[in-house]
Symmetry: C2
Subunit: 217 residues, 2 copies
């Protein structure tokens, strides 16, 4: 499959590399067609990895991963262009964290709205699925990294077929059916985005990000 | 120990009964000295269970459990009275959920503040410890109800001695040392309070509240 990965940070690189490893073609999109970090990633990720602008990647991709930082997501998707997003699944991995005042970050969207809903409203013909945003990127793409196979990933979205497509990709990453929890429509992303402040405090308390939550009961 | 339980809902009744069962004396506080629900609870909970106003309970208790609904917490503590709270541990179990618009509730405090911090600011000489607010009350007082002993309870507060006192009570409820996670100062309660929207969505998805989260990793 042709997959666009928007964003050149650790999340984009980690997801992009894993998708290439799984046999997909990946174009990493950024503001510039000649982004140093994206070029380095593509050089190391193999023949099926390419780079381009946000619009290049989105127009080419059959599925679009939003791996930009939450503060830049709407700008990046604007550069990708509505015509290049309409009808496509957008896998939204971003969190609306505002680090401008340091740690802990505040949430630029919360409570009665979410970044995922903002994206869905901005691109009503795209099929937004929020997932994977509740953990470190190394665990996103390889859940077997953690002992205890009962930890979970959440899925939120209005389009059941899009959620099925994303669930299939999650299964390819190594998530089992029991680990994937469909919370419901896209508004349920409010819950997973607002989990981040607790996630960050748990990380501080443990001293590392190599964890995830399980549901016991 | 003499323990005041403020609030006559399920959380107050469940915690009050468990504290009596553990050998403590408990006074359930409410707006009225003659509250029907409190009277019924006291009649069923045994000789060490009593009732009174918020002020009666708080002045008598050595420790104060805030089991009021978050929307009423500051009013209830105002009626309890600063003189009856100063120097005491307040175990804050409440969540600032606003159900006035139905489900899902919104959060009346969030992000850069929390109900726990509001209480600590309002009563700077009290020793506020936020805990137990991330689960159903049946699990709060009997964590062994859930298979899989690795699920967790969080503790937030500025006063280490107060957190140690509360941790001892949690141990009496059945929580093991490994299950109790000290997140840090009272501002970390922002994280546990903002977990509620996700908790509520997981509950909806499962169809029951008999669960808790574990940390895997």
């Amino acid at each position: 499959m042709r997959i666009a990965v928007l964003g050149t940070g650790n999340v984009g690189k980690t997801i992009g590399s894993r998708l290439v490893e799984l046999g997909h073609e990946v174009t990493m999109g950024s503001r510039s067609a000649d982004h140093e970090g994206a070029n380095e990633w593509a050089a190391s990720a193999g023949d099926n990895a390419g780079v381009g602008t946000f619009a290049d990647a989105a127009s080419w991709g059959e599925i679009v991963f939003n791996c930009t930082s939450g503060a830049h997501t709407l700008d990046a998707l604007g550069l990708a262009g509505a015509d290049n997003l309409n009808g496509k699944v957008i896998v939204d991995v971003a969190n609306p964290l505002d680090f401008s005042e340091g740690f802990p970050p505040s949430l630029s969207v919360k409570d009665t709205d979410s970044l995922a809903e903002q994206v869905q409203r901005a691109y009503p013909d795209a099929r937004v699925v929020k997932t994977l945003n509740t953990m470190n990127c190394g665990i996103m793409v390889d859940p077997s990294k953690l002992d205890g196979g009962d930890h979970v990933v959440f899925v939120s979205g209005n389009d059941d077929a899009a959620k099925a497509d994303v669930t299939a990709l999650l299964r390819d990453f190594g998530w089992t059916a029991d680990q994937i929890i469909d919370l419901g429509d896209i508004s349920t992303a409010r819950g997973t985005e607002m989990f981040l402040p607790l996630w960050l405090r748990i990380m501080r308390s443990r001293g590392n990000a190599d964890f995830n939550i399980a549901i016991v009961g």
